[in-house]
């Protein structure tokens, strides 16, 4: 039985465990039908031209993990940003791990999707927001069909959330192969501000496939900073589908740090429903071996006087492959739009590949839109300059790569996270450098 058939037939079993007499179930039923019709995307589709899922779909994934697995905090501490106080929502093999988590209902809701879907007090928010910005794209539909667990974050108006929220998905490898489909909903109301850090981490070499959907709603004047750390094991793959719906005067930024994993696909979609807002999409990708990272972004400018900023940097070694597909749509009504997109790449090996494709569809006539893409090697004259000052080749290389990625790090607003990312980059580049950029 292939994975698609297995998932479709698993849906019947899934229905036995959830409340089927609710609106959500109608959404789920429709979603599984959509997935059944569309199936997994193939390279024949334009949006998947450079990313093949074949190698990761062949495993016999367990869709509902059987046992609960305990993990000690000390064993996974390193995957947290642990030197500052944070809220934490932690999952082990898709199941909520209360002993590792720190949730709250004190003025804000930082808790579980399963609770939000089932408890009456959340019904209104769920009805207004759940599956309202996620599309009917096949993988998103697949997630919607099985939507049950994940992070639920609701920040009512005028709240400045005083510490970041970490969402951590751990997989233990107790299954031969595991498929997880977390579903997150983040609603930030008027004038509120929140910072979120998300990470997926496999603790074994067993294959893991995560098909995640995150819906983010930034209401009037909301500020949301979302950071994704993707530094997973060699056999862990991630398809991240994130949908952001912004209202007027809101500021939403998503930073994606892709340093590991077998195959990573980021479908990041911004919809600007209002005026005077700002969307930021930044990313640093540093991969090697046969790793594959694909950034597929969409910014849809619907109303006038808004901005978007995209800056993606990629460093590819060995036989690694990268894709950047950045689409910007500016509606006819969206005059005075400022949309900037930049994708710069360094190939460190002859076998590394990057496919970079900007796509601008502009229907308004009074706009400033720019896009730029570069693909190059490390500058030899810069290397000689650094080495002639006594900086060894490896460190000189690392210094140049840091410098290359630096402006993306500048917009990271949590100092401890910035330090952590710096360290991850240093580890990734195989150096121990005594500077802080």
């Amino acid at each position: 039985m292939d994975l698609k058939e297995k998932l479709v037939s698993s849906f019947l079993a899934f229905e036995n465990h959830v409340d089927i007499d609710c609106k959500i179930h109608d959404i789920r039923t429709e979603a599984i039908k959509t997935f059944e019709t569309k199936g997994f995307p193939s390279k024949k589709e334009e949006a998947w031209k450079y990313t093949s899922l074949n190698s990761i779909l062949k495993h016999d994934y367990s869709v509902f993990p059987k046992q609960e697995n305990a993990i000690e905090y000390s064993d996974v501490k390193k995957y947290f940003i642990h030197d500052i106080d944070t809220y934490k929502i932690v999952f082990i093999d898709g199941k909520y791990a209360s002993h590792l988590s720190q949730t709250t209902h004190d003025g804000i809701d930082v808790c579980l999707m399963s609770a939000a879907l089932n408890k009456p007090k959340y019904r209104l928010v769920i009805e207004n927001y759940f599956n309202k910005v996620a599309t009917k794209e096949s993988l998103t539909s697949l997630n919607t069909a099985f939507a049950q667990e994940g992070a639920y974050i609701h920040i009512p108006k005028n709240k400045l959330v005083n510490k970041p929220i970490q969402i951590l998905h751990l997989s233990t490898g107790s299954e031969i192969a595991l498929m997880q489909q977390p579903r997150n909903l983040i609603v930030v109301d008027e004038n509120s501000h929140v910072q979120i850090i998300e990470r997926h981490q496999s603790l074994s070499d067993h294959p893991v496939l995560t098909n995640s959907v995150t819906e983010i709603f930034g209401n009037k004047r909301a500020i949301i900073d979302y950071y994704k750390i993707q530094n997973d094991n060699v056999n862990a793959s991630l398809i991240d589908n994130t949908y952001v719906n912004q209202k007027r005067e809101s500021h939403v930024s998503v930073h994606t740090f892709s340093f590991g994993g077998k195959l990573t696909r980021n479908n990041l979609n911004f919809y600007q429903n209002g005026e005077h807002m700002d969307s930021t999409l930044n990313g640093i990708t540093i991969i090697g071996d046969k790793q594959h990272v694909d950034h597929n972004t969409l910014v849809h400018h619907i109303e006038p006087n808004c901005e978007s900023h995209q800056d993606y940097k990629g460093i590819f070694n060995d036989s690694a492959t990268g894709v950047f597909n950045g689409k910007v749509i500016v509606n006819k009504e969206a005059q005075k739009t400022n949309a900037f997109q930049s994708n710069n790449n360094i190939l460190l090996s002859d076998k590394a590949t990057i496919n970079s494709k900007p796509q601008l569809e502009i229907f308004a006539d009074d706009v400033k839109c720019s896009h730029g893409c570069t693909i190059g090697q490390l500058d030899e004259s810069a290397m000689f300059y650094l080495r002639s000052r006594g900086i060894p080749q490896k460190e000189a290389k690392a210094l140049l790569m840091y410098a290359f990625a630096n402006n993306v790090l500048e917009t990271v607003k949590i100092p401890e996270l910035k330090k952590r990312i710096n360290r991850l980059i240093a580890t990734k580049l195989g150096v121990n450098i005594g500077f802080d950029l």
Partner: protein, 250 residues
């Protein structure tokens, strides 16, 4: 200190240096002059260890040790410093961070611990004041958007920080106005001692009024064709290079 014997070097199979002989002793200042395309900058790059240049014959000895097999950074650790004709712009790395990294890399090569932060700051302050460098300048990205004069002053600042045994100044005077030239030359003169040496590569005599050489060599077509005292520089300034070319081609 530096002894170059019969040095031949080429880039992409094009022969540029065709048998250079040069000896520089500690405490000396040498100047190499010559027309464009004579191989001056190539000589500087070859001594500093630029990989694109292939040494096809001859030897370069630093304090008796053959350095030909050494990488650029290893030559730097042994005390060779090249002030670039065209310093490279490196956006994203501040002058201060670059200097810290370079100083500590050199200390590490000598088996020393990293320089304590306060000591580093003191050193940076002292040397930047000597070269009349603004504090703001130190937090800017290395050479990015610097004027020609700022770039050259920054090169000599690096030299002051690293205290090399042999400093090679490649066309350090180009792009400098007279005030900047004086500041840069004063910096070099303050760093001069009986234990180190300076090799000044220049097209014009102007810089040599400030950094006075003990010996002047004329490089032409990949060879040193004439050597003399500082008066040779004046003669070249007056008469140009044509008479040298005629002498060689005769």
């Amino acid at each position: 200190m530096l002894k170059i014997n019969n040095l031949h070097a080429s880039v992409e199979d094009k022969s540029i240096l065709k048998g250079i002989n040069l000896e520089i002793k500690a405490g000396e200042v040498h100047a190499i002059m010559g027309p464009n395309g004579s191989g001056k900058s190539t000589l500087a790059s070859v001594v500093a260890g630029k990989e694109e240049y292939e040494v096809t014959d001859g030897t370069i000895l630093l304090e008796g040790e053959d350095i030909e097999e050494l990488a650029a950074e290893e030559r730097a650790h042994k005390g060779i410093f090249l002030s670039f004709q065209y310093p490279v712009e490196i956006p994203g790395v501040s002058v201060t961070n670059f200097m810290k990294t370079a100083i500590n890399a050199n200390r590490k090569a000598k088996g020393l611990e990293d320089m304590p932060a306060n000591e580093m700051l003191k050193l940076i302050r002292e040397k930047s004041e000597m070269l009349e460098i603004d504090r703001k300048f130190l937090s800017r990205s290395l050479n990015e958007g610097f004027s020609g004069g700022e770039k050259k002053r920054n090169e000599i600042f690096q030299m002051a920080m690293l205290e090399p045994k042999l400093a090679i100044l490649d066309e350090t005077d180009s792009g400098l106005d007279i005030d900047a030239l004086r500041i840069v030359a004063n910096g070099v003169n303050k760093l001069k001692s009986k234990d180190n040496a300076v090799l000044v590569i220049t097209h014009y005599q102007r810089l040599l009024d400030y950094i006075v050489p003990d010996f002047v060599h004329v490089l032409y077509n990949g060879k040193i064709v004439k050597s003399g005292g500082k008066e040779l520089a004046h003669e070249l300034e007056e008469k140009g290079y044509d008479w040298i070319k005629e002498e060689v081609n005769a």
